[in-house]
C-alpha cells in the first residue's frame, strides 16, 4: 500500500516518453539505441507495478524475459553499429537514407 497505481503508471509513462523523445530527437545511432533502452525500462516499471497491483508474479517474469531479450537485441544492434561505422564512417542516422523516394 504505497502509491496509487496511477502514479506508478505515470512514472512509467514519463520514462517511456522520455525515451521516445530521445529516439526522435537524437541523430546519433547509439543515442537512439539508448532511447530504446529507456523505453524498455519504462515498460518494465509498468509491468512490475501491475504485478504488485494484481498480486501476480507474471509481471515480474515478463520483466526478466524482457531483460534477456534486450540483451540479445543490444548485442546484435551494437555489432551492426560497429559494422556501419566501419563501412560508412559515420553514425548519423540521416546519413543512411538510400531508401529515399
Amino acid at each position: 500500500m504505497i502509491v496509487p497505481l496511477t502514479h506508478v503508471l505515470a512514472f512509467s509513462g514519463a520514462l517511456f516518453f522520455l525515451g521516445l523523445a530521445c529516439v526522435l530527437a537524437r541523430r546519433n545511432l547509439i543515442m537512439i539505441l539508448i532511447g530504446v533502452e529507456i523505453m524498455i525500462n519504462g515498460a518494465g516499471l509498468a509491468l512490475a507495478g501491475g504485478s504488485a497491483f494484481w498480486q501476480n508474479i507474471d509481471g515480474q517474469i515478463l520483466v526478466i524475459l524482457l531483460m534477456a531479450l534486450t540483451s540479445a537485441e543490444v548485442s546484435i544492434s551494437l555489432a551492426m553499429v560497429v559494422y556501419l561505422q566501419r563501412r560508412r564512417g559515420t553514425l548519423e542516422a540521416n546519413a543512411y537514407n538510400e531508401m529515399h523516394g
Binding site: A14, C22, L45, A72
Partner: protein, 172 residues
C-alpha cells in the same frame, strides 16, 4: 516511508533520464542512464520484486550498459559527432509531442475508476519466482535461451573481421 522513498526514487530516475537524453557525449549519457537504472532497481524492490531489482543492476546496468560503453570507446566517437543544430528547433516539437502523449496516457489512465486504488504491498521471494519461472514459463526460458544463441551467432557474424588488409577486431 516507502511512499516517500518511492517518489524520491521516481523523480531521481526521471531526472537522470532527462539528463541522459540531453548529453552530447555518449559516455556521459550512459553514466546518467546507469544512475537512472539504479533508481529503477530500487523502485522494483519497493514494488516487491527483489530478484528483478538485482537483475536490473547485474544484467542491465552491469552488462548491457557496459557493453554500450565498450562499443562507444572502441569506436572512438568524438563528442561532436552530433549534428550541431539549433537546440530548441529539434527538441521543441519532440518534447511537445511527448508531453501531449503523456497527457493522453494519463487521461486514459484516470478514466478507469479502478486505477485510483493503491498498490498493495507485495513481495515475491526468489523461491516463488524460481518456481514460477521454471514451471510455468519453462518454454519461454528455453526460447529465450535460443534467442540468446542466435544473438551471439549473429553478433559474431555481423562483427566479423573484414577479409582485407587490416582486420580490426570487433567481436564482443
Amino acid at each position: 516511508m516507502a511512499t516517500i522513498l518511492f517518489y524520491i526514487l521516481g523523480f531521481t530516475a526521471l531526472a537522470a533520464t532527462l539528463l541522459c537524453i540531453t548529453r552530447r557525449n555518449p559516455v556521459h549519457a550512459i553514466i546518467y542512464l546507469v544512475n537512472a537504472l539504479f533508481a529503477l532497481a530500487l523502485l522494483f524492490y519497493l514494488l516487491g520484486a527483489p530478484l528483478v531489482a538485482a537483475w536490473e543492476v547485474i544484467i542491465y546496468a552491469g552488462a548491457i550498459m557496459v557493453l554500450f560503453l565498450f562499443i562507444i570507446m572502441m569506436l572512438e566517437l568524438a563528442p561532436d559527432q552530433e549534428i550541431k543544430g539549433p537546440g530548441w528547433l529539434r527538441w521543441g516539437p519532440v518534447l511537445l509531442l511527448s508531453l501531449v502523449l503523456l497527457a493522453c496516457t494519463v487521461l486514459l489512465m484516470v478514466a478507469d475508476p479502478g486505477s485510483s486504488q493503491e498498490v498493495p504491498a507485495y513481495y515475491a521471494s526468489p523461491r516463488t519466482f524460481g518456481y514460477a519461472l521454471f514451471k510455468q514459463y519453462a518454454l519461454a526460458v528455453e526460447i529465450v535461451s535460443f534467442q540468446l544463441l542466435f544473438a551471439a551467432v549473429g553478433a559474431y557474424y555481423v562483427g566479423r573481421p573484414e577479409q582485407r588488409k587490416k582486420p580490426k577486431g570487433g567481436t564482443p
